[in-house]
């Protein structure tokens, strides 16, 4: 379609898929924090996710998130290629006035997050390592369910894994610090005042996500959550 081949059309799709992913990341973080509420609460939550809508719910959510990621990545790669081509010869004297460091490495933070995402899916969703699928089942009020709580404890018992997770969350924080505030601008909702507000909200959100995702693995590593 003509809209999708235009610069602004692509940008709008990137903003919309970004918005979906922002929503997903926030929900995922809240779910994560249930680790502090103990094994029963966490496993009940995990069980709920896997059974809602007769087990269809999770596949709908997964398709939306996967689809958004694929489109977001493909379009940003195309846009970035065009952007590089548009400045064929670099300046002899490089100068940046207002663009943040994060805003200038979006493609790097983004592609790092993509590789993290693939690792994360293999780690906790497909569970290819550590024999998570052989974990003894958890007794959730008489019902035998998968022990997602134990999987988290085991998964984060290696400092190297924890380190990689937290590093990835730093990249996510960087990515969000520019991305969130860009959404209303690209969707054409910004005024002078709302632009400033969204910039602050975007930063606050980015650090909230960093903190929210880092405390669980750190707590597990320090033995605070067992």
């Amino acid at each position: 379609m003509r809209f999708l081949s235009s610069s602004i059309g692509k940008k709008i799709v990137v903003a919309l898929t970004g918005l979906v992913l922002v929503g997903f990341v926030f929900g995922h973080m809240i779910g994560h924090l249930l680790m502090f509420a103990g094994p029963a609460a966490y496993n009940e939550y995990a069980h709920f996710l896997h059974t809602v809508g007769h087990g269809m719910g999770i596949w709908v959510a997964r398709s939306v998130v996967f689809g958004s990621i694929i489109v977001h990545v493909l379009f940003t790669i195309q846009l970035t290629k065009q952007n590089r081509a548009a400045r064929a010869e670099p300046y002899g004297y490089q100068h940046t006035q207002v663009a943040s460091k994060s805003s200038r490495v979006m493609i790097i933070s983004g592609l790092t997050l993509l590789s993290f995402f693939i690792y994360h899916i293999l780690h906790f969703t497909v569970r290819v390592w550590h024999g998570f699928n052989q974990l003894p089942l958890f007794d959730l009020a008489g019902e035998k369910v998968f022990d997602a709580y134990q999987m988290m404890i085991k998964g984060f018992s290696f400092p190297l894994v924890t380190g990689f997770y937290i590093l990835s969350m730093v990249f996510l924080c960087s990515h969000l610090s520019h991305g969130v505030a860009s959404i209303p601008q690209t969707l054409g909702l910004n005024t002078e005042a709302s632009g400033k507000l969204f910039k602050k909200l975007g930063l606050a959100f980015a650090f909230l996500i960093l903190a929210g995702f880092s405390v669980v693995p750190l707590a597990i590593n320090m033995g605070l959550v067992k």
Binding site: I8, L79, R87, G92, Y93, T96
Partner: protein, 262 residues
């Protein structure tokens, strides 16, 4: 007071020639000279020495025509906020400074010679919709068309754009979206611009894409470099106008197909 400056000036004989920086000592430059007058002095000395003067664009020299360009120490139009190169004064520099002077760099703005670039891409974008069509004849009474103060002020802010291309030069992606959005926004804001609003938006954005400018990544280097302080919010308005115009175009096309099918 007079200044002695070390210039590093981009020299490029022709569009396809390979360019490089030339070191030029600019001695005894009066601090009340404008940047372009400094270049004039340098050029007169080059000519007196039998050398090729530095080619650069200029015209009004009073900050309204948008002809002067140059990237000075990495910043289009130099270090002063909201100031064109022609309005920049040498007192903003210090004795002994090294000053890098290069052309606006963008694939859509090919270098013609030294510091001169071809900005006719902007003209083609304007020709694709940056106007209001009116039948000729006697002008109507100015008061026949009431325009709210806020709208008039906003349109005036957008109209401050002199089309110099500093936004493209400063953008990390050589995007022209600040320029294009100011031109679209000025006319789309006013009642006279309404009849052609959608056609204008689609036409100008598509021409912009065709010229090979990059895509805005919301970093606002353009706004910081703009000699006329044109606001980033015009880009947001353009994004919205383009989405609406595209949606409308698609709906009309499908309606047309259906009626043709009958």
């Amino acid at each position: 007071m007079n200044l002695n400056l070390h210039l590093k000036v981009w020299r490029q004989a022709s569009p396809n020639a390979k360019g490089s920086f030339q070191d030029i000592e600019a001695r005894d430059i009066p601090d009340h000279a404008s940047f372009l007058e400094m270049m004039d002095i340098v050029n007169e000395r080059l000519i007196a020495d039998g050398k090729e003067p530095v080619a650069f664009d200029h015209d009004c020299r009073e900050g309204i025509c948008g002809m002067c360009s140059m990237v000075i120490n990495g910043r289009p139009h130099g270090p002063e906020r909201a100031t064109t190169t022609c309005q920049l004064h040498m007192r903003k520099f210090r004795n002994g400074d090294t000053i890098w002077i290069e052309p606006f760099r963008a694939r859509a703005f090919p270098v013609m010679k030294d510091l001169m670039v071809d900005r006719s891409a902007f003209d083609r974008i304007m020709a694709a919709g940056g106007f209001v069509s009116v039948r000729t004849g006697a002008p109507q009474d100015a008061n026949a068309l009431p325009i709210g103060k806020e709208v008039a002020d906003a349109a005036m802010d957008a109209a401050a754009c002199i089309g110099c291309g500093a936004c493209v030069a400063s953008c990390k992606n050589a995007s022209a979206m600040l320029f294009v959005s100011a031109k679209i926004g000025q006319l789309n804001a006013l009642p006279q611009g309404q009849p052609e609003k959608h056609r204008r938006t689609l036409g100008m954005v598509r021409q912009m894409d065709k010229e090979g400018f990059g895509n805005c990544t919301n970093q606002y280097e353009c706004e910081a470099a703009c000699p006329k302080d044109v606001s980033r919010t015009w880009i947001a308005s353009m994004n919205k106008d383009f989405a609406v115009a595209s949606g409308r175009e698609a709906l009309l096309a499908s309606a047309r197909e259906r009626s043709e099918g009958d």
